[in-house]
Structure formats: structure tokens, C-alpha cells
């Protein structure tokens, strides 16, 4: 199972994790080793089974549609790295002058 530098960079971008050039080679080797493990699964005949969802195969319980959550706005904002006027603050996302 060989990964190209380009593939690894694409995966890292999908995961939004910056990977620096120096660690690229060692990381690639580690990932290739782990992906190599997966090849054992090809030998298993899974034509007669369906994919498992819940180990006990239970249906999802339902509850009455009632408001149960308290308003924790202030509590939740306390943990935010940057807040302004009760809102999460991030760098500008929309370009342009307006």
C-alpha cells in the first residue's frame, strides 16, 4: 500500500491538519504500515453479511418532543477562544470591501 506525497497532503487537507514537509516521509511510512494491515480483510468472505450498525441491533428509542435543554449560552461562550457581543469571533471569511 503506497501513498504518494500528494495523496498524503490531500488527506491532511481534508482533515484540516497542517503537515510540515520534514515529517512527511516518516508519517507516510507509518500510515502505509497501518494501511498494510487492512489487506487481511480482503480474504474474508462478506457476501452473506450486512454491515453492523449497533452490536445489539436495537431500534432507536424515541422520546416526547419537549424542550429539555437549558439555555447555557453564557456558560458555553466561557470556553470560546474569542468572543464578541455574545458571538464566536473568527478571522474574516468573506473577501471584498463591502
Amino acid at each position: 500500500m503506497a501513498l504518494s506525497d500528494q495523496e498524503l497532503k490531500e488527506i491532511a487537507y481534508l482533515a484540516r491538519i497542517n503537515v510540515n514537509e520534514e515529517s512527511l516521509t516518516s508519517l507516510k511510512k507509518e500510515l502505509e504500515d497501518i494501511l498494510g494491515l487492512f489487506e487481511e480483510l480482503n480474504e474474508a468472505d462478506t457476501s452473506q453479511v450486512s454491515a453492523m450498525s449497533h452490536p445489539l441491533d436495537l431500534s432507536q428509542p424515541t422520546r416526547k418532543d419537549e424542550v429539555t435543554e437549558e439555555n447555557l449560552r453564557e456558560e458555553l461562550l466561557k470556553n470560546a477562544p474569542s468572543v464578541k457581543s455574545g458571538l464566536f469571533l473568527v478571522p474574516k471569511v468573506i473577501d471584498g470591501d463591502n
Binding site: 494491515l37 487492512f38 453479511v49 450498525s53 478571522p91
Partner: protein
């Protein structure tokens, strides 16, 4: 009096009889933590003030004869369980400043029974690891020999209970994170059936595998606490709609005539001779108690490791996408735009092993690979579960070693992920099938403890604990504690 030498039931009786107060008991443990934990590093946070307040409240209830079921008993919580107003880090730089705005159901249930929180225990970052070397807060040491690892990911919980800095601790298990450290630290650890213990407020790693449980000094202690933690919770959609089981009533029942299965695939592997010997001795104990021992086959069990290393990273990559530096947790300095904020926050906030697993999971779920990896793994997982179902038609429990060896030295496996992953080769199958599993100490090699694993059928925690307790009533391995 050496209060820390008393079992949980003895401590509870002492509190009820007024032999000592919860404040005395709690202070005793807090003293031990301050004296002994500098070297072990088993706690990330010690909640001394809060513990003494809770203990004082318990003492008041005893005086007023309005005491709760577990009133005044101290406990340590793995730092994966959210505890309102208390630092909850999951062993990560990403959450190194996170004070949980609400408490996990596990914490609340034990709090409602009057238990006193001593602190939050160290762990592998986001529960990913088998040696407790991946914690942002530094490695945890094994009290049996501080050059050795305590196992992971619940290494802090195992280390502190083994060193008797806490009488019992909560823990979680995704692929062996309760049973493996219990084995390496000479403790009894149980992971219940998937869905038995609520995952609400338990920071998610791999949601279809994660399950809360306990590390304790005996099956009797573990039963008492696991029972209190269990039960349906409408805040967790995967929580089983069942009342909490009675786990203590049948502990002393005889196992005569019950059947133990030995999976031939496990025993066909190369095992160190000392493990084979300890397991054989344990089997002899069970035979002398009237249990019947038969061979069973779990023919797909060898697929467990690759299945796990697809499913767990895939679910982790989805779960950990929430750490984006926007709403809580770590944020990188001076992001130049939103993309840079995400990319550097996650580069700097996560450790090496966590990033490795996110990348593997992202790959396995990415377009073009989903069917080949994730879907294939979920199908193979069903094969493993079917093997267990078949085996449990003819046996009550399945016995094996918990780990492929005793503990190893810090740093020994840190550079080889696959070597580290092999630590969980015997424990992973129970997570894949959602079954309850338990580890009990069954021997020692060169001064380090080792454990045997019992896996039970769905919802049969009581039977597992009965098997463990009957073994512990006839052996002394669980009574051996490290000299520290």
C-alpha cells in the same frame, strides 16, 4: 488505621458505623496523592476543595441518617468524563483549558449516590494509546515499577488505584483501555455491554466502540460501582433501554457446572511461557470449583485488529472534527485566515498519535475508499460478532489472557504504532461485538502483574463478575499490591 487497605464495602460499613468519617477517609487519600503522585503522575487535576466539601456533606447525611447508597466513598474519574466547572482535558493540549459546562451522566449518577470525587485521572490523549505515553500532561508510571508503563488509555485510573491513591476509579474502553491497564497494574477492570453505561458527557473517540466502566481492586468492588453507573439514559441514543442490573446479589453463587470456553485461535498464537502457565493455573482453579472447560472456535477473530484500525480511526476522524479552534479549546496564535486557523489549531493542538489516527480515518472514509475500508470493516465486524454468538450457545464465558505480556518499559514501543496496537489483540474483539469483558489479576512475572480476560454474552456482566469473584475467593493475586 490503614484506611486504604479496606475494601469498598468495608469502607462503606466503617462510614455507616461511624468508625471514621468521609472527611477522614477523603483526607487520607488526598494525603496519599500529595505524597505519592509526583512520581506516578496519575492525576491531571486533584479536586481537593470540592472533595472535602462533598465529604462534609456526606458526613452530615450520615449524622442525619439520610445517607445515600455509596455516601462518602471517594473515587477518581478518568479525565474523559465531563465534570461541571472542573477542568476536563481528555489528556490533550486541545482541551487543556476546557472547563466542562455540564457533567457526564456517569459523574452525576455516582454523585447522586454520594460519591466523593478526588480528582481527574491522566490518560492517553483522547483515549488513543496503550501506554499512557501520549498524554499532553506527561506519561503515567506503573506503581509496580516506575520504569514501566501502566497501560492505557485509562493508565491514570489504573495507576492511582493500584498505588491506593483512590479506592476505585472510572475508566473507558474502546479497544481494551480498561482491561489492558487493569492487567498491567494488577487490578480488576470491567467494560460492560455496549450501551449499558451512558456515553453522555464522555468525550467521544469511536462512538460505536466506546464504553465506560471501572477499575477496582476486586470484582466485588467493581460490581458495586458498575451497578451504580449503569442504566438507561435518554441523553444517549445508544443507551440500552434497560434498568440497571443487580450485579452484587449473585457474586457468591457457585459456578459449578458452568462452562468456560477457550478460543483455540488465541491459544494457537505464540505466547510467552509464563502467560501460558498462569492461564493454565487459573483454568485449574476453575476446574476445581466445578466449572467445565471446553475449546471454542472464533474463526474470524484474527480479523479483529485490522477491523478495529479502520473503524476506530474512521469514527475518531469524524468525532474530532469538532475541535476547530472556534467554539472551545485551543486556538493557534495569529491565524491569518479561517483556513489557517483550522489547519494550525489542529496541527498544534493534537499530538502525534491522534493526528495519525485522524489521517487514517479520513483516508478510510474518503471518496473511493469508503466501500473498500469502512463498509468492508463493518461487515467483517459482523462476522466476529457472529462467531461470539455461536460460541455463547455452548459456553457461559470465554477465557483468554488479557494482554500478550506483562508491562513494558516507557519508550519501548513508542516509535512503532503497530507494535503498540498489538497490545490490544485479545481485548479488541469484545468491543467489536459490543460484549462485556473483564480482566482479573492471575499471576506475576519478574515482579510485574498479569491478567486473564473473561468475555461474556451480551448483558451478562453479573455472570462475569460472579466468575471473577469466585476466582478471587479462592486465590490471592488480586490482593497483591505494589510496594511504594
Amino acid at each position: 488505621m490503614d484506611l486504604h487497605k479496606l475494601s469498598l464495602n468495608q469502607q462503606l460499613n466503617g462510614l455507616k458505623e461511624g468508625d471514621f468519617t468521609s472527611t477522614e477517609l477523603t483526607s487520607h487519600y488526598l494525603d496519599r496523592i500529595s505524597k505519592l503522585d509526583k512520581e506516578l503522575n496519575s492525576f491531571i487535576t486533584v479536586t481537593e476543595d470540592q472533595a472535602l466539601l462533598q465529604a462534609g456533606a456526606a458526613d452530615k447525611r450520615y449524622k442525619e441518617k439520610s445517607n445515600l447508597a455509596l455516601d462518602g466513598l471517594p473515587i477518581a474519574h478518568k479525565d474523559i468524563f465531563c465534570t461541571k466547572g472542573v477542568l476536563t482535558t481528555c489528556g490533550s493540549k486541545m482541551l487543556s483549558n476546557f472547563e466542562a459546562p455540564y457533567s457526564s451522566t456517569v459523574y452525576e449518577k455516582l454523585d447522586n449516590e454520594g460519591m466523593v470525587m478526588l480528582g481527574k485521572t491522566n490518560m492517553d490523549e483522547f483515549a488513543m494509546g496503550s501506554s499512557n505515553e501520549t498524554s499532553y500532561f506527561g506519561p503515567v508510571k506503573n506503581p509496580w515499577d516506575t520504569e514501566y508503563v501502566p497501560g492505557g488509555s485509562s493508565g491514570g485510573s489504573a495507576s492511582c488505584v493500584s498505588a491506593e491513591l483512590a479506592p476505585v476509579a472510572t475508566a473507558t474502553d474502546t479497544g481494551g483501555s480498561i482491561r489492558q491497564p487493569a492487567s498491567l497494574c494488577g487490578l480488576t477492570g470491567i467494560k460492560p455491554t455496549y450501551g449499558r453505561v451512558s456515553r453522555y458527557g464522555m468525550i467521544a473517540f469511536a462512538s460505536s466502540l466506546d464504553q465506560g466502566g471501572v477499575v477496582a481492586r476486586s470484582a466485588e468492588d467493581a460490581a458495586l460501582i458498575l451497578e451504580a453507573m449503569s442504566g438507561h439514559d435518554s441523553k444517549d441514543s445508544t443507551s440500552l433501554k434497560l434498568d440497571k442490573p443487580d450485579l452484587t446479589k449473585g457474586l457468591d453463587d457457585s459456578i459449578k457446572g458452568m462452562k468456560i470456553g477457550l478460543p483455540k485461535e488465541f491459544f494457537a498464537q505464540d505466547m510467552p511461557a509464563y502467560i501460558e502457565k498462569s492461564i493454565e493455573e487459573a483454568i485449574e482453579v476453575y476446574k476445581s470449583l466445578g466449572a467445565e472447560v471446553v475449546e471454542v472456535s472464533l474463526s474470524n477473530i484474527n480479523l479483529s485488529l485490522p477491523i478495529y484500525y479502520i473503524i476506530a480511526p474512521a469514527e475518531c476522524s469524524a468525532n474530532l472534527s469538532r475541535y476547530d479552534g472556534v467554539r472551545y479549546g485551543y486556538r493557534c496564535e495569529n491565524p491569518k485566515d479561517i483556513e489557517d486557523l483550522y489547519m494550525r489549531t489542529r496541527e498544534e493542538g493534537f499530538g502525534k498519535e491522534v493526528k495519525r489516527r485522524i489521517l487514517i480515518g479520513t483516508y478510510a472514509l474518503s471518496a473511493g475508499y469508503y466501500d473498500a475500508y469502512y463498509l468492508k470493516a463493518q461487515k467483517c465486524r459482523q462476522l466476529v460478532a457472529n462467531d461470539f454468538s455461536e460460541a455463547f450457545k455452548s459456553v457461559d464465558v470465554i477465557l483468554s489472557p488479557t494482554t500478550p505480556g506483562t508491562s513494558f518499559k516507557s519508550g519501548e514501543k513508542a516509535d512503532d504504532p503497530i507494535e503498540m496496537y498489538l497490545q490490544d489483540i485479545f481485548t479488541i474483539p469484545a468491543n467489536l461485538a459490543g460484549l462485556p469483558g473483564l480482566s482479573v489479576p492471575c499471576g506475576e512475572y519478574e515482579g510485574l502483574p498479569l491478567g486473564m480476560q473473561l468475555v461474556g454474552n451480551s448483558l451478562e456482566e453479573a455472570k462475569l463478575l460472579q466468575f471473577a469473584h469466585s476466582y478471587q475467593s479462592n486465590t490471592d493475586w488480586h490482593k497483591k499490591m505494589p510496594n511504594i
